[in-house]
């Protein structure tokens, strides 16, 4: 029988791979559209709240997009978008909301505490940990550089 090295070679050359010329444009368009929606909200809030700082408008837009991501996850539509758009709907902040709301919904059956609360971050946990860690490191570097 074929040995494992030859077999690994056979498998890697014959396994069907993602068709990038098909998936990349869809991801680009959907991701771009989500960003355009975010920009539309930014423009709307700037128009409605002319006294607000730019950073506060940004926070408001993030909150809106997170809400929308969670909302469409709850409606059972975001996973259908994700199946077509791939990274286009994972990378924007709506995808981050989806990664938290979907396990919260899925594990609701095991109860609020041991289900929803305990497993809410099974998908997003690594993103949060690496985000917090890297921001702490950058903060320390920034502090030291500032002193020098």
């Amino acid at each position: 029988m074929i040995n494992s090295k030859e077999y690994a070679e056979y498998v890697s050359t014959h396994t069907q791979k993602s068709c990038e010329w098909k998936t990349l444009p869809i991801a680009f368009v959907v991701g771009g559209l989500i960003c355009c929606i975010g920009q539309a909200f930014a423009d709307l809030y700037t128009y409605l709240l002319p006294t607000w700082e730019k950073a506060d408008i940004g926070a408001l837009v993030s909150m809106t997009m997170i809400f929308l991501g969670g909302f469409f996850t709850g409606l059972g539509l975001y996973d259908k978008l994700g199946a077509v758009a791939g990274a286009g709907s994972i990378i924007p902040i709506t995808g981050f909301a989806n990664s938290i709301v979907s396990p919260a919904m899925e594990f609701r059956k095991e109860g609020i505490i041991f289900g929803t609360m305990a497993k809410m971050f099974v998908v997003a946990g690594p993103i949060i940990v690496s985000g917090v860690t890297s921001s702490a490191i950058v903060g320390i570097v920034y502090y030291i550089v500032g002193k020098v």
């Binding site: 014959h14 975001y78 996973d79 199946a83 709907s89 994972i90 990664s99 059956k109």
Partner: protein
Amino acid sequence: MRIGKYIYELDNKIYMPYVSSICGTYEAAGNLREFVDNVMEDDLWGCMTHEMAEIKMQKHIISQCLERAKIGESEVDCIIGGDLINQIVPTSYSAREFEIPFLGLYNACSTFGEAMIVGANMLSNHQNRVICVTSSHYATAERQYRFPLELGTQPTPSMQWTVTGAGCVLLDKNPSNSPYIARYVIGRIVDLQCSDANNMGAVMAPAAFDTIYKYFKESGESPDDFDMILTGDLGRFGMDTLHYLLLQADIDVPNLNDCGCLVYSKEQKAVQGGSGAGCSSLVFCEYIYKLFESGDIKRILFVPTGALLSKDSPLQGESIPAIAHAVVIEKQR
């Protein structure tokens, strides 16, 4: 009787007078839509959780099988079965509903073959009738092995779709005009160091090759002696790979087929095809059994395949061991 080292021939044929199966709506819209036995109205089927729905599926088909056979629970000596979920909860919980002794098995997607072999052996001794049952459910498997259902991920092109379905067969030692188990081969674990949990066809094809190769080598038979060589859930890539491996060993199998490839139509976005412990039992009970009844096929080599991984084992750097059992099923001409 033993043929060679690996093939066992049953002295008394073990008959399969009754079967029952159930599938989800997605499977019912697939290739085998004309053969469907029972369909669930939706994935939850009126239950609180998908696990409960899977339990209900098994309960339903076991009860239906008993009804079709017109026998009571006391006349069945054992329920033998399994599924994919941790601690085979769906099968144990469905067996809770019956006053029938129970043996729970786990061989991943090849459990149906394992159950047939265990059942046939029991009937060769003191038992008279046993029920073999396996099931899988897309939603229960997905949450255990992959991600929450609502997570927006894109399927990898090499992935397979877990079948929502279950099948059960009543094994009976009393002769009847039904298909029977004539021989079997107990598979051995084959591991060619594949560790991609998204490419189960590649993981399991060598195991299927090992079992099929042994069968033909030791029995002296050729693929022409069968109407169909039917693997469990290799999917399209796995089946191509098995073809390749068999051709390397000078065995050409034009009549090779796969339950995972049969269950969904090309238009359905099931990627490489179906998988799961319910895949082979569903396809066997709803489709293959009917082909036997209509006389379209007389003899098959049924090779359910399984990948014996947990969600954590590939993360811990382990490769995925695979297994395939073979059962020769015939019907008197």
